[in-house]
Symmetry: C2
Subunit: 250 residues, 2 copies
Amino acid sequence: MSSATRSEAALSRIRVVLVRTTHPGNIGAAARAMLTMGLSRLVLVAPSHFPHPDADAMATGAAGVLARARVVDDLTQALAGCALTVGLSARPRAFAGRVLCARDAAGEAVARTSEGDVALVFGTEMSGLSNEELALCGIAATIPANPGYASLNLAAAVQVMAYETRLAAGDGSVWRAPRFAPATHDEVEALYAHAGETLQAMRFLNPAHPKRLMPRLRRLFGRAGLEREEVNILRGILARIDQFTGRKGR
Amino acid sequence: MSSATRSEAALSRIRVVLVRTTHPGNIGAAARAMLTMGLSRLVLVAPSHFPHPDADAMATGAAGVLARARVVDDLTQALAGCALTVGLSARPRAFAGRVLCARDAAGEAVARTSEGDVALVFGTEMSGLSNEELALCGIAATIPANPGYASLNLAAAVQVMAYETRLAAGDGSVWRAPRFAPATHDEVEALYAHAGETLQAMRFLNPAHPKRLMPRLRRLFGRAGLEREEVNILRGILARIDQFTGRKGR
């Protein structure tokens, strides 16, 4: 099984459970947040309003996640069959068992998908999970936040946990800067030789007092890692300068 | 300087720049996302509508971030004086220089606050930063996402970057499970001794064929890490069972 397939298999075993969500727009925004990270199994426990046009509007391209969402009456039904249940809470609780930060909880969630389904459980907007609801979860997870204002929007919290889950599943790949043909050592050295002569002809570089000009230029272009096309452009510029100074090209 | 103060100092040097935002609600949601992670400097480049009641509604407790937001006409003004500028882009670009994933970009952003202000730049909702806008940024950053649906809501993208920035600044602290007095070694051994006798009196443990019962119980309670109060509760339960079996307490 390829690494991408393994990662998809792990993500396909993760349910996002939203408990007693008040605003249907948040359900739609949560569905969108999930799908951007490759999660698609949504369970709604006693939502105030669902289905609802606000949910559809906020889901944008994640309408399919809403269409397949399961609606249940209580949290016990939502968690049935899970190998691990993770309850999110911003508030400290007097009777919590294990409490992990979001990143560690995501790592554990993905690891436990080898044993079965895993639920990420989010409480109602105003007050989060009740103590009774959190007690049904195997571990508590919390997103590091500003202690002066730790009030993440529900869909924002889903976004952060889904993001950490995707990375924990090993699919943190991103687009890369385009790669063009690098210049060879010889091409780069010819550039420096040309530049040295042009700068002398311009009377910017004095061979009797060269100071640190050429080492500084080598350091700058060395850091950038020159491509062949870039060497050609720079030599074109030098050749044009040479026409003004009367230096003969080699 | 304490670690918390150092972290706050780094976060105070980070600007979030939103370019040509269309929906004022997204500006408010972004302000809320920022403040939950301890960021408070918002710069708006040519927003379609600002100030606006939708922005206020979505900001909830982060109204102060909106009140102090700076509104400018173009991106160049927004980036003036920055030591590093980071442009977010979900789309690959043919002419990008350095491209980092969100986590690495956040690490670099925080590191560079020692040299001056750092800007995190987010484009317009529908199409993101233009090539010309991204070219004004020193590095490009991208949030790992589902290649089939990488469309994070603007405020959700701000939330993820702000979260990574907070963690990169070293303030990933979270609430911890409460700690109660642990049981001593002697108390735990007395519990196992009591349990062994009670289980014999119940005829659940046969000393002639003990199998692996006691080692399994030791393993279970060892993993949990018993507290003193828990040992007292368990011994209370054992003593109650002893009343039924007629076993004399020690």
